[in-house]
């Protein structure tokens, strides 16, 4: 894995991408000086991303979510004072991809680790990046209590309904009926219960002040997700409490779908169980339209 961190000023080639048909009219448009030939750059690698190649499967939406995190960190001018906490799962190497100080936490423990960082360095920006197995299964206690304490940190939950890294086992978030390697006949709620909706579950806690669910299945959803992520980060910057954004993400390999079908599956099926939108906003904040 390349540990090199370089500042890219040239036009970027995005890797690990599912949706790269971004309109140049969006806020991603950027003008930058530089480059040998002084070209006007309209779409560049955010400064928050390194040039390391991701190990994600084709069509996996982790890459887009990484990019959104990097863009928002840059736009809020947080790159120099951010400590990110990665987790165990497909995104374990995120410390190679994001161009900020990073800690790699034990499985499920990212929010306890983030708590330790934030208590020592309260003026730094601290976020975690966790999969659903990490945040909603083995790390449920750490998640609930970080939220209950109102830790001034932001959790990014990437929910693809399976354990991706270990080859597609059932997760606490797997939809009823969904086939996985450990629910070969489809998840049976009578046997394994129902999927957990983390933001809804956390909503009763006073300390959890911003909870939202987004997806990145189309340019429109990507832009909406970015606005939501920015609001979650603002909540921390204003010291209001705990914030969490759940991304409905794809895992085409383990879902045994092609990348486009996987995105359509999120839009048509997954959102039925996991409704998109802001589940909780701080008092006095207007919900996003």
């Amino acid at each position: 894995m390349s540990q090199e961190v370089r500042e890219s000023r040239g036009p970027a080639v995005e890797e690990g991408a599912g949706v790269q048909t971004t309109s140049p009219k969006s806020s991603l448009v950027r003008e930058r000086e530089g480059g040998v030939d002084q070209k006007k750059v309209v779409f560049a690698r955010p400064r928050g991303l390194t040039e390391a190649h991701t190990i994600y499967c084709p069509g996996c939406t982790h890459g887009i979510i990484h990019r959104l995190v990097a863009e928002v960190l840059e736009e809020l001018d947080l790159l120099e004072r951010t400590v990110g906490v990665g987790s165990i799962g497909c995104s374990v190497l995120i410390y190679d991809y994001l161009n900020v100080d990073m800690i790699s936490a034990a499985h499920g423990r990212a929010l306890a680790v983030a708590t330790g960082v934030k208590r020592v360095l309260p003026d730094r920006f601290v976020f975690t990046y966790q999969g659903d197995g990490d945040l909603a299964s083995i790390g449920t206690a750490e998640t609930v209590h970080a939220a209950a304490r109102g830790e001034r940190v932001t959790a990014i939950l990437v929910n693809n309904g399976v354990y991706g890294m270990t080859g597609g086992q059932m997760a606490p978030t797997t939809l009823p009926g969904m086939r996985t390697t450990t629910s070969p006949a489809g998840r049976d709620p009578a046997l394994t219960g129902f999927p957990i909706r983390m933001p809804e579950m956390l909503a009763s806690l006073e300390g959890a002040v911003y909870l939202a669910r987004v997806t990145v299945t189309s340019p429109k959803e990507v832009l909406r997700a970015k606005r939501v992520l920015k609001r979650a980060f603002e909540v921390q910057l204003q010291g209001l409490g705990f914030s969490l954004v759940e991304f409905l993400s794809s895992c085409p390999i383990n879902w045994k779908m092609d990348p486009v079908d996987a995105l359509r599956y999120i839009e048509t099926e997954v959102v039925k169980y996991y409704p998109l939108g802001e589940i909780k906003v701080p008092e006095g904040w207007k919900p996003l339209a």
């Binding site: 374990v92 100080d101 936490a105 330790g116 206690a141």
Partner: protein
């Protein structure tokens, strides 16, 4: 600096000693018989601008420690054996990521929930480690309440110097006992080492810092583990510490740590009054184990036998045997279940060993 003498409970001494060693962050979960450490620090840390945070579990506290240590602070937690068991995952991560942190473990009876009476049966758990992988934890053991102060200072210094977790192995007896201690009126100035590796936000520093334990390529992980092993070898070469009593002419060497070291010393005095040349070796560092001194004793023609005295069914004795390497017989005496052996019991056990091993009566 002017000093004052006060009466202090062992558990409170751990808290105050940590503050004096520059620790400003504590994360922990209540468990008997160490809860006074947490209670003391919940009052004390805010006074000195620090943070006391009660975690939802020992699993969480050790991971809060991991984050706080990564952020560059001197950090500690305290627990008892069952809690230490839950922390083993985090301790393996601390060791793998080379993060300095101090964990005070006040031992009670086990296995399982056992009871809350004093014990020393977490020796293996602390010294050999219960986490996964090739790693070592530095383990220290004070033998009295006043000794807690230098031992805690040493714990934080070694943790920072070697970037390694340090366990301070206490027991319910030392934790609950009150003894006079002499401490300086004022807190010493904070003079902590720089930690350029800490993840503090780059703040203009580049490249970024990364704290991690994963090395996906076997060759890479082997390199990392070999580097850790070199560090452990250096620790073993440079940091062995122990206290000794009347070993110069000893024929019977009692080996004991913590509370039992003091009882062993009292026993040695009684034995000497009865004509048996007994002495005591009390490891202050359980890892690195004071192998050098024990081997010296094992090689000395005057020494006839070793006897460990423990509040367990024989854990320390394994390391003494490893150090002695069969040169001399090594026996064990201990009580378990939270029972502290009496002086009489220890003396009798020692006399039996002395008779059996041909230790002369003078």
């Amino acid at each position: 600096m002017p000093k004052r003498k006060i009466l202090m409970k062992g558990n409170e001494a751990y808290g105050e000693a940590a503050v004096r060693a520059g620790c400003r962050f504590y994360f922990g979960y209540p468990i008997t018989p160490q809860t006074e450490v947490a209670e003391y620090l919940s009052r004390r840390l805010p006074e000195v601008g620090g943070v006391f945070l009660q975690a939802e579990s020992e699993t969480a506290s050790v991971n809060m420690l991991y984050g706080a240590a990564a952020a560059g602070a001197r950090v500690m937690t305290s627990t008892s054996g069952l809690g230490l068991a839950l922390m083993q995952e985090g301790i393996s991560y601390l060791a793998g990521a080379e993060l300095p942190a101090v964990i005070v473990n006040t031992m009670r009876g086990g296995p399982g929930i056992g009871n809350i009476a004093p014990a020393q049966a977490d020796y293996r758990q602390a010294v050999k480690g219960g986490g996964n992988g090739d790693y070592r934890t530095i383990v220290l053991a004070p033998t009295s309440v006043p000794e807690i102060f230098p031992v805690m200072e040493l714990a934080f210094d070694l943790a920072d110097r070697y970037r390694n977790p340090v366990i301070v192995l206490s027991d319910g007896m030392i934790g609950q006992m009150m003894e006079p201690v002499e401490i300086e009126e004022e807190l010493p100035p904070l003079d902590l080492p720089e930690k350029p590796w800490a993840t503090t936000g780059t703040m203009g520093r580049r490249p970024k810092n990364v704290i991690k334990t994963d090395y996906l390529e076997p060759e890479e992980l082997e390199r990392h583990n070999l580097r850790l092993a070199e560090k452990y070898a250096q620790i073993e070469a440079e940091e062995q510490r122990w206290k000794e009593f009347a070993l110069e002419d000893a024929e019977l060497v009692l080996v004991a740590f913590g509370t039992m070291a003091r009882l062993a010393q009292a026993a040695a005095e009684v034995l000497r009054s009865r004509g048996i040349a007994a002495g005591v070796l009390a490891p202050i560092t359980l890892y690195p184990f004071p192998t050098r001194r024990i081997r010296e004793l094992a090689d000395s023609p005057g020494v006839r036998s070793f006897l460990t005295v423990e509040m367990s069914l024989g854990q320390l004795v394994e390391d003494v045997r490893l150090a002695v390497e069969g040169r001399k017989p090594v026996s064990f005496f201990g009580r378990t279940g939270g029972i502290v052996p009496t002086l009489d019991e220890i003396v009798t056990a020692a006399e039996d060993v002395a008779a059996e091993r041909g230790v002369r009566s003078r």
